[in-house]
Structures are given as structure tokens and as C-alpha cells.
């Protein structure tokens, strides 16, 4: 929000405005068309009709980083590619988010020990918001990762001058094996998908 970036007092009204902005941002996450390896096939499946990530507002894959909010790094990143990934990240406008998709981007995956050229985790050169493990992850896991990211965006402070809230994962559906890395400190109170909106005025 540029000019007013976390500069207004942390009161009910600014939080209400934050809520509106965050709702808009989290409901229209535009990913970048950017596939490196086999994970990209699953990413395409998520965009296609059967799984249809557009249901969550994240289906408009943009062919340029200038129009994208989310970079799904889908595939093995090696030392030659890392600079390109970093440049694409730098070209994205704020606010921008990164999803590390697949075992290779999370921590090197099968190339962890003997991949002389593979970067063991993309969080060594770009900040990562969501880690989605799997080799490759199921399309449901990617949807889960997008849902996690939406919770994370909803908890941000945009106008209000205050610390970011602790992400509220209440109501996030949890299915072991297909879910992104859960923060162990977050207590999941329900295992069914519920409304994502955090309580207005709730203490973080």
C-alpha cells in the first residue's frame, strides 16, 4: 500500500481496512508460469479442470513476473538456474510470495547428497513463504499450500502500525502427507475446512 504502509494507528478502522485489502490480495493470487522440472507437470494439473486452482482465486497463471504475485518454484534448482530464479523474484512487484514446491526446492531432495550442482533448498537465495514437500506433491498438496498462503496473507498488517498477527490456522484442513510444513506451535483446532477470516480486533 505504498504511502500508508503500516503508518496508521492500530485501531479498529485500520484493521478493518487491512481485512479488506488482505481479502482482496489472498483471493486473487496470480502465480507465475514458471516450471523447471517434473513438479511443473503437477502444477499444470492444478491449473487444469480436474483440480482447478481458479476456485481459490489462484488460477490466473501469468507469463511475466511483472504481473505475478506468487512464484511457484516447481522443480530442481541448480546453480546455473538459481540466478535466474532470483532475478525473476526481484522482478515481481510487492507484495510477492514464494512457494517451494517439491522435495528438491525444499531441501535438495534426491540430490541432497550427491547433486554437485543442485542448490539444497531455494531458501538459500529467495525467501520462501510456503514449503510443499513431495516428489512431486499431489495437486491437493499444492492447493493446500495455496490455502496456507491465503491464511498467511490474511494475517498481515497493511495499513495499521502493528506487528503482524500470528497466522490463524483455525479450521485449516489437515491431511497428513499432503500438507505443507506445519508450524508445530500452531494448534490446529479443527480438521475440517472452515471460514478463513481472522477475528477482527483479536489479540495476536
Amino acid at each position: 500500500m505504498g504511502l500508508f504502509e503500516r503508518s496508521l494507528p492500530d485501531v479498529y478502522l485500520t484493521r478493518l481496512a487491512d481485512l479488506a485489502v488482505n481479502w482482496g490480495r489472498s483471493s486473487s493470487i496470480w502465480p507465475m508460469t514458471f516450471g523447471i522440472a517434473c513438479c511443473a507437470i503437477e502444477m499444470m494439473a492444478v491449473g487444469a479442470a480436474t483440480f482447478d486452482m481458479d476456485r481459490f482465486g489462484a488460477g490466473a497463471f501469468r507469463a511475466t513476473p511483472r504481473q505475478a504475485d506468487l512464484m511457484i518454484v516447481a522443480g530442481t534448482v541448480n546453480a546455473k538456474m538459481a540466478h535466474v530464479v532470483r532475478r525473476l523474484y526481484d522482478q515481481m512487484p510487492d507484495p510477492k510470495y514464494v512457494m517451494a514446491m517439491g522435495a528438491c526446492t525444499v531441501g535438495g531432495g534426491p540430490y541432497w547428497k550427491h547433486g554437485y550442482n543442485v542448490v539444497k533448498g531455494i531458501d538459500r537465495f529467495v525467501p520462501v513463504d510456503v514449503h510443499v514437500p513431495g516428489c512431486p506433491p499431489r495437486p491437493e498438496a499444492i492447493i493446500e499450500g495455496v490455502r496456507f498462503l491465503q491464511r498467511k496473507i490474511m494475517a498481515k498488517r497493511v495499513l495499521a502500525d502493528g506487528l503482524p498477527q500470528t497466522p490463524d490456522f483455525t479450521g485449516v484442513s489437515v491431511s497428513p502427507g499432503t500438507v505443507g510444513i506445519l508450524d508445530p506451535t500452531v494448534k490446529v483446532t479443527s480438521t475440517t475446512a472452515g471460514p478463513a477470516l481472522p477475528l477482527i480486533g483479536a489479540k495476536a
Partner: protein, 176 residues
Amino acid sequence: MTAAEALEQLKKDGLATGVELFPGPKDAALIVPRERVKAVLRHLRDARPFACDLLVLITGTHMTEKKDAKGVLVREAGFEVIWHLRSIQNRSLLAVKCKLPTNDPTVDSVADLWAAANWHERETWDLVGIRFTGHPDLRRILLPEGWEGHPLRKDYAYPKEFQGINLEVDAPWPTP
């Protein structure tokens, strides 16, 4: 045409000096000394009985010394380059091997005989470090420019970082 038949034909053509037969049930090949590799390969491409008009691939290997339980040397240390040739007309396969010493892995380029050899030789240089003399543009093809070493060598040390990117196996978790 099997490797044994090819060797017979080479003897008739007067090009078999120093050429040996690498025996094998399926992977029989000709072992050619490296000074004569290019002449032999050129003959295999041009002479009618062989007509090896297709270079399928070039293999480079690095081998360490190997001894059996009694301490007898079974395999010498060194490099080996293998040209896998195919003849479309004769419907036959032929492999040509060349052994190179460890301290000087250099062999003549065949990029002017088969255009396909250009990239194969670049790849062999990139990963195994065999230098092809006479190659028009011997650069790395897979690894980035500025990479040190040749990864498929037995004595290759894994890099710790490359141009500011940490490549260590057990790096500390990055702090935001």
C-alpha cells in the same frame, strides 16, 4: 558387422596398426591407439564396407586402479573415450575405444567428421575433462561458465559455494 569382422576388414585396408579387439559377448569394440583414432574413424565413416554414417554418442569414463584379492592389477587407472557408431546402410553397430593416460587426457576431435560430435565432445569435456584437440569451440555445455573441475572424475571435490550461492550439504538454516 561385428567388431571382429571390422578388425579383419581394417587389416585388409592396412589401417589395423596397433588396433586391438576388446572382447565381449555383446559389447565388443575396437581399441585404437590415440594417435590413429582420427584416421581410423575417418576410414570407418568413408569406406564402403563400414559406412558408419551416424555417430550415436561419445562416452568418457574415468577409472581408478583396481586390484584383485591377490594384489594383481586388473585395471589400470586412466581415461577412456568410446565412440558409438552406427551404419544405417549396413544396419550395424560398432564401438571404438581409446585409452588415455591420467595425466594427459587429450584426443583428436572428430567434430569435422560428424557434426553431432560437436556437442558430445563439449559434454565430455564438461563432465569428465577430456580435451579434444581441434574442436572448434570447446566450452562447457551443461555446467555454468566459471565452474571449477569436472564432476564425473573420481577425485572430484564437491563445491562449497558457486557465485555466492551456498551448495554445502549441511548448511545452517537461513535466518530471515
